[in-house]
Every structure is written in structure tokens, then in C-alpha cells.
């Protein structure tokens, strides 16, 4: 049985801050060298978007650390997660096939970053729904 009680230590928080600092630094470098200037996901440059993502990571990490709530992940949850992942992967391949057919009928002209964002959100929702359904089964 694998039981893990995830408790965030100061060390793990420091790693998350380091990660977010890396994002912010990368964003600043991109902006400094004027790489990726132009409209990107509602921001004026890719660099600004990366900086925003860095700050977001730091804020989320701080909130999770402050909560200090013991989170138990037991074998049942792992089993449900595993099955939900498998289901999501199956839906991923099916949806790719459907997208190929749709693209053949109506050419998809949506911007690449928007398309990827939507598709990631779609798979996250699929995983969440699959997890909730399987939770009732097991």
C-alpha cells in the first residue's frame, strides 16, 4: 500500500519560488531582447505572459503552503487516478481522430496557442469528470 501524506516543507516552497523566479527571469530576458513581441494570449508579448505565469506559480505555491492541510493519497485514490488517466488517454486518441476528420471538412484556422489552451482545458475537464465517475464505482 502506498500512503503518502503530502506536507509542504519550507524546502519544497523554496523550490517552487526558485521555479517561478526562473520563469520571471526568462520572461524579462525575452522582453529585454524583444523576442516574441506582439499579441499573445491577451498579453503584449510572450515575455509578459511568462512573467505573469511565474507570479501565478509563486502565489499558488504560497496559498498551498499556508493552508498546511494534510492531504492523504491512498491506494484507492491512486487506482482511481490511474484508471482516469487511461480513460483520458483513450479520449485523447479518439478526439485526435475526430479533429483530423473535422479538419478535413472545415479547415481549423484557430491560432495555435489558443487551440492548445482549449485542448489542455478539455483534457483536464475530461480527467476530472472521469475521476468523479470512477470515484462512485470504487
Amino acid at each position: 500500500m502506498t500512503v503518502s501524506q503530502k506536507i509542504w516543507t519550507k524546502k519544497s516552497l523554496a523550490y517552487k519560488y526558485l521555479f517561478s523566479a526562473g520563469f520571471i527571469l526568462f520572461g524579462l530576458i525575452l522582453n529585454f531582447f524583444k523576442i516574441g513581441i506582439g499579441h499573445f494570449a491577451g498579453f503584449n508579448s510572450v515575455g509578459s505572459w511568462v512573467i505573469y505565469a511565474g507570479f501565478l506559480i509563486a502565489i499558488i505555491a504560497t496559498i498551498i503552503y499556508k493552508r498546511k492541510k494534510k492531504k492523504i493519497i491512498d491506494e484507492r485514490m491512486e487506482k482511481i487516478g490511474y484508471h482516469a488517466s487511461r480513460l483520458t488517454v483513450a479520449i485523447f486518441f479518439i478526439s485526435l481522430f475526430i479533429l483530423m476528420i473535422v479538419d478535413g471538412i472545415y479547415q481549423i484556422t484557430i491560432r495555435y496557442y489558443l487551440f492548445i489552451s482549449y485542448i489542455i482545458c478539455f483534457y483536464l475537464i475530461i480527467y476530472f469528470i472521469a475521476y468523479k465517475i470512477l470515484e462512485r464505482k470504487y
Binding site: 491512498d74 491506494e75 485514490m77 470515484e135 470504487y138
Partner: protein
Amino acid sequence: MKTKITKLRKSLKMTQQELADVVEVSRQTIISLEQGRYNPSLELAYRITKALKQKKIEDVFELK
């Protein structure tokens, strides 16, 4: 898998949460086990048997 968890737990005047804390699982897992929806691993079965003060796994779990 048929279980006697509910009966044994109630005889020990334990709540589902208390049992869950002892065996280090979530309360939802205890509910699933009691309803026979989930079959535990050997290790979890041992832990539950011990927590319910039984000697053998067969005293708590039974194959249908």
C-alpha cells in the same frame, strides 16, 4: 469481497474517520470498503485487521 468492517468498527465504538486515521487512508476509502465497492491490498487488509483488533484477515474479509 464481503467485509465485517462496519460490524467490528461499531463494536469497538469507532467512527469511520477514526478508523481511517489509524490505517492512514481517507474516510471515503473506508466507506468504499464497508460497502464492498473496493478490494483492499494485502497491506491495507492487514492494517485494518490490526486496527479492528482481529487476529486473521479472514476475520474481517471474506471472499464471496
